[in-house]
């Protein structure tokens, strides 16, 4: 896999085989990760897959059962939370209810024994950054949800940590506010240049925010990569399915030459061609995976390396796109999405139409599992 940015850059945060067991149950099960300076790294995964647990180990609230954590070359596995140059923004914000916004933000600096004048300046600066200057004297219960969240962010940023952890920072916001805040978050990250690790189970959020994504599954890392890599080249059915939707054709490798594989799928009537540099033995089991939007749908035969015939069974109109479910000759249901370039009344393909589906060899990936 391609390394993020410069190939010789040393990782800033390194996790080596980190395991966390609660009783017999492994919430985090052997995670090794390298994260680089100034990354905005997303941890993505379903509910209960161990994201929060991993974050809590980085912050120092949980001790790993096994494995080591290094930050900037130093082993911090056993350091207590108050001695780590890492700050966490809690899912519940965890603002101190009995302190004003200002005191909340100043709290961390006071613990470090920063001089009073300096504290005042930096608190004002941080509140300015999150546009909360006028509300400095308020108590947390006098703030709206979005304002509270920005206080929580300012409270972490003001300490200028080496690493900032955010646990579902946008979960409590409505869609509009959420998109707005995503951009704000990216801007702030660029401005302050701190490394961010963001937990989310919203894949769109992860795709639009991050430099790289780690997809987690049952306590393990399923795949790490840039949003494009994860989307275009998923390594497993799990990742492929988790991010966006995808169609699978299960078959056997028939030929392998010049970076192109030919895969025979039973009952499909024709072989599929996939561009791939992988060396696979003839006859091995593989799945060919194609994203719905990479498939062209037409009533006329298509001049593409991969082309199959089917019948439209279901059609969903989603405004900008339409989603078709097409039943192939072998009985498989394939999902296709196409941009609605014409008015819906002039739609070309309709219910129960016999159609051709086609895609390029570069549009599909081959998965072995």
């Amino acid at each position: 896999m391609t390394k993020w940015r410069k190939p010789d850059e040393v990782p800033f945060l390194r996790l080596e085989g980190v395991v966390k067991r609660f009783g017999d149950f492994a919430a985090v099960d052997g995670v090794s990760l390298d994260i680089y300076r100034k990354e905005l790294f997303c941890l993505l995964g379903g509910s209960g897959c161990g994201k929060t647990t991993l974050l809590r180990m980085l912050a120092g609230f949980e001790q790993p059962t096994a494995g080591r954590i290094y930050l900037d070359g130093a082993d911090i596995t056993e350091a207590p939370p108050y001695e780590r140059p890492i700050n966490m923004m809690f899912q519940s914000y965890a603002l101190f209810p009995h302190m004003s916004v200002e005191s909340n933000v100043a709290f961390g600096l006071k613990q470090d024994g920063v001089a009073r004048v300096e504290i005042r300046r930096r608190v004002a600066e941080a509140l300015e950054l999150v546009q909360l200057g006028p509300l400095a004297k308020r108590r947390p219960h006098q703030l709206s949800g979005g304002q509270r969240q920005r206080v929580a962010l300012a409270r972490c940023l003001v300490k200028r940590p080496k690493l900032l952890l955010l646990d579902e920072p946008l979960a409590a916001l409505d869609k509009k506010l959420r998109e707005h805040t995503q951009f704000e978050l990216m801007n702030i990250q660029e401005e302050v240049g701190i490394t961010f690790i963001v937990v989310t189970h919203d894949q769109e959020e992860a795709m639009s925010l991050s430099t790289r994504i780690a997809v987690m599954d049952r306590g393990q890392i399923a795949q790490v990569g840039t949003p494009t890599e994860i989307y275009e080249y998923p390594k497993s059915r799990f990742t492929a399915n988790f991010i966006g939707s995808i169609n699978f054709f299960d078959g056997k490798v028939a030929r392998s030459e010049e970076g192109e594989l030919t895969v025979t799928v039973p009952d499909l009537g024709r072989d599929l061609h996939v561009r791939s540099t992988r060396q696979l033995a003839i006859g091995s089991d593989v799945s060919v995976a194609v994203r719905p939007e990479k498939i062209v749908i037409s009533r006329d035969p298509l001049d593409l390396p991969n082309s199959v015939r089917g019948k439209v069974r279901d059609l969903g109109y989603l405004g900008s796109v339409s989603v078709y479910r097409v039943e192939l000759e072998n009985g498989a249901l394939i999902k296709v999405s196409a941009a609605n370039t014409r008015h819906s009344a002039e739609r070309e393909v309709d219910w129960d139409d016999e159609v051709y589906l086609g895609w390029r060899a570069t549009s599909a990936v081959v998965l072995t599992e």
Partner: protein, 306 residues
């Protein structure tokens, strides 16, 4: 990186030594206090219940004689079995506490349910009204009943004035007065856990049952009542256990023949100055109560886990 934390041997996943460096200290202060002033005394009571009374200061024989031999005797416990007074007192205490608990439940349950179903705005006020008497003196509230139940007390005066009776009814110095006294004094302890259980219970559940064709009383019996069982048990234990050993109420409201074990213990101790027998009475009472107390503790742990 950190001095204190990295000196610890690594490997144990559960260890979080840093979390509170003074953790051990924090828990050991109350722990030691309770060991010394709550648990140790029971051991001493047990020890003295095995001694013989003598006329001395303190008025019992030491556990080990001058030659170091063990001088334990179970005579005191045998004595409790021989003299029917003690057995009768134990049984009577259980009976009185049981009936009073039932009375508390009968009065307390509808009240708790009524409070839990009342409008939110007045719920807290009603709850406060239940707790308020608890903050005033227990002794004085029992005393109030002396004025009400006496032969020339409030009730008798009222009934005679109305002409319902022409002889005062004897209510003071009877088991009846004790039932009233215990029910009255312990009612808040019954209502509070019942209220907590009933308040958690969503009215939707009952409405759902009625929607499915259940009659109101049936809905109450099949939905509300079973779901409030933890509250019933907690409240009943909170009333029953202390009521078994009650002293003030039987001695102020009860008659000479309404024997309760708390009063027997008191008289044994202060009247006869027989410390070993008083200790034996206490140990026997504790044995009677050990099962309900353990049940109470189990309920606490379960609630904590939930």
């Amino acid at each position: 990186m950190s001095g204190a934390a990295s000196e610890e041997p690594s490997g144990s996943g559960r260890r979080r030594a840093f979390w509170l460096s003074g953790r051990g200290l924090v828990s050991s202060i109350p722990y030691l206090w309770l060991l010394l002033f709550f648990l140790l005394p029971f051991a001493i009571v047990l020890k003295i219940s095995l001694a013989e009374p003598i006329i001395a200061q303190p008025p019992f024989t030491p556990l080990f004689g001058p030659d170091g031999s063990l001088q334990a005797t179970i005579d005191n416990f045998l004595f409790l079995l021989e003299d029917s007074l003690y057995i009768v007192a134990y049984l009577n205490s259980l009976k009185i506490a049981g009936i009073s608990t039932l009375l508390c439940l009968l009065i307390g349950y509808p009240m708790a349910y009524g409070i839990a179903r009342s409008p939110r705005a007045i719920r807290n006020i009603l709850l406060l009204l239940v707790i308020l008497p608890f903050w005033t003196s227990f002794l004085l509230r029992v005393y109030a009943w002396m004025g009400i139940l006496r032969n020339n007390g409030l009730i008798n005066n009222l009934l005679m004035w109305l002409g319902v009776i022409d002889q005062p009814i004897q209510m003071m110095n009877s088991d009846f007065a004790i039932y009233i006294g215990i029910t009255y004094s312990y009612l808040p302890f019954m209502i509070l856990p019942l209220y907590a259980a009933l308040e958690r219970l969503s009215p939707d559940l009952v409405e759902a049952a009625e929607d499915l064709g259940c009659r109101p009383w049936k809905a109450f019996l099949t939905i509300t009542l079973p779901l409030s069982v933890p509250g019933i048990i907690a409240g009943s234990l909170l009333v029953f256990i202390p009521a078994v050993g009650e002293f003030v109420i039987p001695s102020l409201l009860g008659g000479p023949d309404s024997l309760m074990i708390g009063r027997v213990l008191w008289d044994e101790f202060f009247g006869n100055r027989d410390w070993p027998v008083a200790s034996a009475v206490a140990i026997a009472l504790l044995l009677v109560l050990v099962i309900p107390i353990m049940l109470f503790q189990r309920m606490n742990l379960r609630r904590e886990g939930a």
